[in-house]
Amino acid sequence: MNVHEYQAKELLRGFGVPVPPGRLATTPAEAESAARQLDSKVVVVKAQVHAGGRGKAGGIKLAKSPADAKRIASEILGMTLRTHQTGAEGKLVRKVWIEAGCEIERELYLAVVLDRAAEDFAIIASTEGGMEIEEVASRAPEKILTVHVDPATGLQSFHVRRIAFGLGLPAESVAKLEVFLGGLYRLFVAKDASLAEINPLVVTQGGDLLALDCKLNFDDNALFRHADVRELRDADEEDAREREASELDLAYVGLDGDVGCLVNGAGLAMATLDMLRAAGGAPANFLDVGGGTNQERVAAAFRLILEDPQVKAILVNIFGGIVRCDLVAEGVVAAAKELGVRVPLVVRLQGTNAAEGRKILESSGLDITPAETFREAGERAVAAARGAKA
C-alpha cells in the first residue's frame, strides 16, 4: 500500500525524523492561509498524488508570497498530472501540500528496503540526491552505498558511521544522521514498511538534515496489525477495478488487451498471459481466483472481467488439483447464465474430474468453446477475440 507524501511526513515526524513544516490544502484559499501560517520567505506547493516525477510534470512549484501560493495552487489543484509513473491517463490532483522552503547545501539519497536476496534490511545511500536511484544505479553505480543490517540485532551506530562518512558528511553530522536514520529504521520495522525512501535528504546551509521528499510503501500482508496505516489509504489513487478485486479477495491486474482471463493460481495465471501472447493475442487482465476456488468466486471474477469494455472474449483456465473441475464447471455455467455473458467463452478444465466438467459445459446449452490442452486454450481464445470461429 502507498501513501501520500504529506502522510509519510507525518509518520516520519512521529519517529523523530526532521521534516520541513507544512500544511495540507484542498482549495486555493486554504493554500493561501497555509502559506501565511508557515511564516516562511518562500513556500513550495506540492501536488499530492501517488506517483514520482511530480516536479518535472509541473506538480511542484515555488511560491514567493501567500497570494502567489494561492495562484499556483489554483493551477495545480484539479490538473491531471502526467509523469513517467502515472501512464498516459495521468492522475487528478485533489490536494496540495504547502511546505516551508529551506536553504539547500547538498541533496542526498537515503532509503531503507528489504533485501530479498540477502534476506536482511539494506540501507541505500547516495550523494546523488534528487535523481531516481535506478538511474544512478545504471549510470554511476559506484555512487551508491549499500549497508546491510542484520534483522536479529537491528541498526547499529557503526552502520550510521559508515553511511555518514561514505556520504562525505562532517564528523559533527554523525549524531544528526543517527537521529534521522534511527527514526527511519524504527518506522520501517514498527509499521511493516516495504520501502522508506528519502529523496532528496537535504543538508541545509545550517548543517541540519531534512527529509524534503519521501516515499513510504507498506506490506499489504501486515496491514491487519496497523489500523493507523490502513486509515491512510486513499481510494482515489487506486485503480477502481483493482480495488474492487482486492475487496473480493481476488488478485487482479488490468492490462491493455482484449482477452479476459480467469485462472486459478498466480503462476498459472501469469503463464496464461504468456500463452495468449505466444498465440498472437493480447490479455485484458491478470486474474487469480485462488488455487482452490468455488462458484461464488468464479461469479465474482466474471463480473469483474465483464466490467472491462475492452474484453472481446474470455478464457477460463482451471487446473483442478484439489478443487474439482465439475464443481468449477457448474460455477462457470451458473455465472454465465446469471450474468448473461455477452462475449465468447473459451473454457479449459484440466485435472481432477476434468471429463465430468467438460460434459457439464457441453450440456449447458451455452455457447462455450471447450479446450483441452494449454496451447489449444490460448489459440481458441485469441481466435474468439478476433471474431473468428475456432
Binding site: L114, A222, A266, G267, M275, A278, G291, G321
Partner: protein, 292 residues
Amino acid sequence: MAILCDEKTKLLIQGLGKMGRFHAGLSRAYHTQVVGGVAPGKGGSEIDGMPVFDTMREAVQTTGANASVVFVPPPGAADAILEAADAGVDLVVCITEGIPVLDMLRAKRALRGGRTRLLGPNCPGVVTPGKCRIGIMPAQITRPGPVGVISRSGTLTYEAVDQLSRLGIGQSTCVGIGGDPIIGTNFVDALALFEADPQTRAVVLIGEIGGSAEETAAEFVKAHMKKPVVAFIAGQNAPSGKRMGHAGAIIAGGKGRASDKIAALEAAGVRVAMSPAEIGETLAKRCPELRK
C-alpha cells in the same frame, strides 16, 4: 530415494481448521504417516482419529514426528514455524499465504544454522510420488520416476507435473518452494538436494518474475550440476511495478524480469521452454531416455 520426505516421514499438522483437517485426510489417504495435530487448548482430544496436542514439544516427544505442516492463519504462522523448529523437527512446511514479510525475515534468521529446514511459506508443499504427501498438492497427478520438480507456484506446478506424467515421465519429488519474497528453501537448496539424490536424473525448474532466485539458480547449475535442468519462467508479459498474485512476483526498479532470468538460465546451459504448454515436451526432448 527422493528428497525431503518419504515413507518414513512422520508428520504433524499445525492448525486444525477446515483446511488443515481436509488435507490431513488426503495425506493419510496417500499413505503418509500423519501422527497427530497441534491445536492449542484442544490437547488430549482426538480429531478425525488423530491425537491432538497443545504444543509442538509435547507432540514431537509423544509421537516421534520428524516433520510438520503449518496451516495456521498469517498472524500466527511465523510463530508456528518457530515452534516447530524449537520442537526439533527436521522439516516444517508452511502452506499459509499472506504472512507479513518482516515476520518471515526474522523467522528465517532464527532458523539459520539450526537443524530444521523450512519449505514455504505460501507454497503447495511437497510430494514424493507413491510415498508421502505434505501440504495441498493433488498427489494423484504425480507418478514415481526420475524427474525432480521445483517451483515457486502451485497450480503451474500441477500443470507441469501433469504434462510430464502424460508423457510417461515420472517424478522423484515435486517441491513447491513458495511465492513469497522470503522463503525457507530456495531453488539452490532444492537443486543441491536433487543433484545428490540417486533417483533423480533430471530437474524441471519453474520460476517466475520478481527477485533474483532464478539467476542465482543459474549460477549454481553452471558451477555444480551434472544433471540436466529444464525451466519455464512465468510472467514474460507481466507489467512492471504490479504484484502478480504472489507477494514475491513483482518487477521492481527494472529488476526481476522474466527475460533476464531466461537469459541467465540459458547461459548456464538450462533449456528454457518458451511456452507453458511445452514444459513437459522440453524435458522429453532434452532427456528422451527418461520417457517410458
